[in-house]
Symmetry: D2
Subunit: 181 residues, 4 copies
């Protein structure tokens, strides 16, 4: 079924059918980035949150994220998804270590675990990524908002985060030593 796309310049991509089938079989590996603005000492000042329109037309907030493709390294996947969601002039500082700051497990059923994804069982390696350039969200994101840590953990913002990702934001801020008191 993936043959129709041969010769394929990007063989990691799957048809919708193959992807749906695969999602029913194995957990799908993601990388996820919490974009941040830092001061000269490395201290987080702002967190970047994407505003997306869901297929159902409602607005939700989200983080930079995307699948790791077959044959793709984690560093390549992270850079590709940062560029996809933040544009080509964001100038992200990729982490020196590929060990994530936390691992987020999304299960299909809401309410069972703090994080969920109705499409699939996804396991996401999460990184805090400073960006120094201009962000121009493209793809399906409408807007990138820079929030202070206080704003980012506010319950109202957390409630708008897709799939329970407000928890991921708090874990990332804790890792960065930027959880509000």
């Amino acid at each position: 079924m993936s043959n129709v796309r041969t010769p394929d310049p990007n063989p990691g991509w799957l048809s919708d059918f193959a992807l749906d089938e695969t999602r029913s079989r194995v957990p799908i590996l993601y990388v996820e980035a919490v974009p941040v603005r830092i001061d000269s000492h490395g201290q987080v000042e702002h967190v970047g949150v994407l505003l997306r329109a869901s297929p159902a037309g409602t607005m939700t907030r989200s983080l930079v994220s995307g699948r790791v493709l077959h044959g793709e390294s984690l560093r390549d996947a992270l850079l590709r998804n940062l560029e996809k969601d933040l544009g080509p002039t964001a100038f992200p500082q990729l982490p020196v270590s590929i060990t994530p700051c936390t691992v987020a497990e999304y299960f299909p059923l809401p309410g069972v675990t703090p994080l969920h994804d109705p499409r699939q069982h996804a396991v996401s390696l999460v990184y805090v990524v400073p960006v120094t350039g201009d962000c121009a969200p493209r793809h399906d994101a409408l807007e990138l908002t820079w929030l202070t840590p206080e704003e980012a953990v506010h319950p109202r913002v957390a409630d708008e985060m897709e799939g329970g990702r407000g928890l991921v934001v708090r874990q990332a801020l804790a890792h960065a030593g930027a959880l509000p008191r």
Copy 2:
């Protein structure tokens, strides 16, 4: 094609055909454990290495590892694979944090990257796991050998480690502060 196995008490398992097909589509998520014996202060004294017979009949050394099944949490996968490879009386101390000490990326082509797996593109979350009980390897492992850190990083041992995992052992020992001088 997965319908033939319905009703399935263990739906995460896949037929050989479905697994092969899936392996050609997405990176497969693994958990991997470096079993260790520690002293009362938490300092690593020995590293547990499994001796396995490969399908080709040659002997190779390996670590505790296994796929994360669809719908299975990382903690469940880690505990299940520890029990599979070390037996029911190993009494592993699972880590408080599910953030791995390192992430190992295995690609199908040997020589391109330090780690490889001829079957698939695998991404493995690696944990150092103290075990306090008796280990009784089962499954396809023949023997569990406890090596000192010096022995475990010896080039001869590293050469026998499947897929380049000698590097994973050194990363795990570095994390534990147990790299030999």
Copy 3:
């Protein structure tokens, strides 16, 4: 001035005068432990918080903590302070890695930073430590209370934590994947 204590079976200890003088000169290194009860999968179920009477007679909550003595290793300091605060039958599981889950910086002036210690500039290496035995607080601690993660991050409890340590508790829970939603 430290000569009066010669011959000293425990040379890391300092007279009150020498300690005060030293505190005015350099940051003082501490180790700090967040004791936890975990389930068989390593998931945190309860956090141990100490109730202490301050010299002023008020009650405050605190964590296991203590100075690293001259010539003492971090692992020795961690084990010694766990035994000092939790008693000899707590059976703590010391971490495999001595890399802390977070570093807490306490400055003498309240309000400048989230954490403060009126006595000194202290830098504390923080560890999450599962304990499996019975805890019998001694020393100057009156009681050890086991709180659920939800209880431990409650603002009322956080307000009672000495020196702003409610933040340290949230960082430790974030590290352990146990922050409440």
Copy 4:
């Protein structure tokens, strides 16, 4: 005895006498940086090693390091010592998290532990720090050499590293996923 320096624009500094006395009383807190050059994906390509002339006139290799002063934050200490050792145009990328990649314990007696410092018991928080600008070593360093990971872990280089810091380099490279095979 520190009164003679009043009014002191930099109160964290100590007289030689006060520093010697303090070193006999408590472990001294350091920050240490392993400078690296990274590619656009964050992968380490080179490690920066300083060549220093020891007081005895012999040449030794070392890392960026220095004391944390009284009242100084870890981030301030890290930035100050990077500038001291690499000059004002190195443009280091300070880490988002102040949690170190490893903690190095130096004891005064050689041979007892892998790391030693004849002057003192020092505890050093170690960070891997990408630098993007030009490094102009000053202070007492003669030269900064950029080594590949393979060169940096070579036994001959490791033997020249002050106080056993070859081990720290290997731990830092392991953290960064850049240990040679």
